[in-house]
């Protein structure tokens, strides 16, 4: 689409419109320039697209609350979760596990990630072909979060199919489809079974579920809260890391000079991760709800309206990043919005960085240079998640 064609068409931001999923960035640029506080009249929500506004909003939870949910649709669950609470409730919940998610605390998982990565890659090396998502990236993060949560390896595929279904949105449909609700129930059943088995066995493991069960016994969280907590961790830790790995491989393919540079020097991988999180991150946006009238850039958002914080737009804001539309693995943007920001910033960010780094080290070591089969790329359709369901690659068999 040419520049003049987009300039003539009416500006609209509709995250449920599949047509924009391939390349939403021209629309985001127009939003930033023409309508930094955009009102989607069809669904009556607002959208912030500039870096500074998104960063301010994630810090200012009193004005932009998470208590009404972080999706644009109405919040169905009334259970207090990490994702839909503000301080002090949020702080109490986050403290239950935050200590397990610092870089030093997740570092011991490195060998497990490396071993699993190797296991997943080896069967495909002789063929010189694999699907980065199906054969690798879809399985690796789920395997690690299952290990963290203490679930059985043989259950990983089933859990992943349920969590994928929970995240999916049908085209043009605002709310979670029935299949998503069913998948949620199945996940809760599974968690209940796991918890009951641990209780029966008198298990006192100090992993995440062990910590949550102990907190429940001390009255610091109720049973529904424990289930909801595990639910959030199962989804958050799975989908997004998968998409990050796929997006990194895709961007390397699209930027051959930088691909060569990373192949020659793996110390560039952390920079690749941060720049992919900025340039093409897996989380497009999270919503908040205004608690009062807010006026920004001359537009007033009334109280109690949903506001989409478009992180993938803020991350391309030339007001904050020079040459924002250029992908540069040497940029090292540690202040990107790819993990959100403020008190709800991604709890699993250190784990995601670890997995992404080790995954790329193993992919590049095993495959060397690869080529993405662009005709068979398939994109996931979701208002929140940005990435592929298939990234087929070919490489020199070994």
């Amino acid at each position: 689409m040419t520049q003049s064609a987009t300039a003539l068409s009416p500006l609209d931001y509709d995250p449920f419109d599949y047509r924009t999923h391939d390349d939403p960035y021209p629309v985001y640029q127009r939003l930033r320039d023409e309508s930094p506080v955009f009102h989607n009249k069809k669904y009556d929500f607002y959208a912030l697209s500039r870096y500074d506004d998104c960063q301010q909003a994630v810090r200012d939870f009193k004005t932009f609350t998470s208590a009404q949910g972080t999706s644009l649709e109405e919040l169905k669950a009334q259970v207090e979760l990490l994702i839909n609470t503000d301080p002090p409730v949020h702080s109490r919940l986050r403290h239950l596990t935050a200590g397990l998610f610092t870089p030093a605390k997740v570092a011991p998982l490195e060998q497990a990630v490396r071993d699993m990565a190797g296991e997943l890659l080896v069967p495909h090396l002789a063929a010189g072909r694999l699907d980065i998502i199906d054969d690798f990236a879809a399985r690796l993060p789920m395997a690690i979060i299952c290990r963290l949560l203490g679930f059985r390896r043989e259950d990983e595929d089933l859990l992943r199919s349920w969590t994928d279904t929970v995240v999916h949105r049908d085209e043009g449909v605002f709310a979670m489809p029935d299949e998503g609700m069913q998948a949620t129930l199945r996940l809760y059943d599974y968690f209940n079974t796991e918890i009951a088995e641990r209780a029966r066995a008198g298990s006192t493991r100090d992993d995440i579920i062990g910590l949550l069960m102990a907190a429940q016994a001390e009255g610091r969280i109720d049973h529904e809260g424990v289930l909801g907590y595990i639910y959030i961790l199962s989804i958050a830790g799975n989908e997004t890391t998968t998409k990050l790995i796929g997006n990194m491989c895709y961007q390397l393919h699209r930027h051959p000079d930088q691909f060569d540079a990373v192949l020659a020097d793996h110390s560039l991988i952390p920079g690749l991760i941060e720049e992919t999180m900025r340039f093409d991150g897996p989380t497009q946006m999270m919503a908040r709800t205004t608690t009062r009238d807010v006026t920004l850039h001359g537009t007033t958002i009334p109280a109690w309206k949903k506001v989409a914080l478009i992180f993938t737009s803020g991350n391309r804001d030339e007001r904050h990043y020079p040459d924002a539309e250029q992908f540069d693995i040497r940029r090292n943007p540690r202040d990107h919005l790819g993990f959100g920001g403020g008190l709800h910033a991604c709890l699993g960010a250190a784990l995601a960085r670890l997995e992404a780094r080790v995954a790329m080290e193993e992919i590049l070591s095993a495959l060397g240079h690869f080529t993405v089969d662009e005709t068979n790329l398939a994109r996931m359709h979701s208002p929140n998640v940005r990435g592929f369901t298939h990234v087929p690659v070919s490489f020199t068999p070994c």
């Binding site: 009193k62 935050a98 920001g341 008190l343 960010a349």
Partner: protein, 105 residues
């Protein structure tokens, strides 16, 4: 009411009611203390919650982990009494604590 005082880089001190079990970083965000960003939400990954603790108070804080110590030690703008706000869990014994918000890196 027990309280903590934050001194921003520019501007008047902000006196915050001390909530036990909150961290210095969380309390700062709750009280809109300028200059404390908390970009990583408290998982010891960004150092945008760095504060300089007044002498006399530094020894009274809960000890630093090796991880926090390592993170602070590589910061150009850290002093010998700097702490990452997200790693300091508050309790009533810290009533009256005063910290200065670090200049941006």
């Amino acid at each position: 009411m027990p309280s903590i005082t934050y001194i921003p880089v520019d501007g008047a001190p902000i006196v915050a009611d001390l909530s036990p079990d909150m961290t210095l970083m969380e309390l700062a965000l709750i009280n809109d203390v300028p200059g404390i960003i908390g970009m990583c939400g408290g998982i010891c990954s960004c150092a945008t919650c760095l504060v300089h603790v007044d002498e006399g108070w530094f020894e009274r804080l809960p000890a630093m982990t090796a991880e926090e110590s390592e993170m602070v030690s590589v910061l150009d703008h850290a002093t010998p009494t700097s702490r990452l706000g997200c790693q300091v869990r508050l309790d009533e014994s810290l009533d009256g604590l005063t910290v200065r918000v670090a200049e941006p890196a």
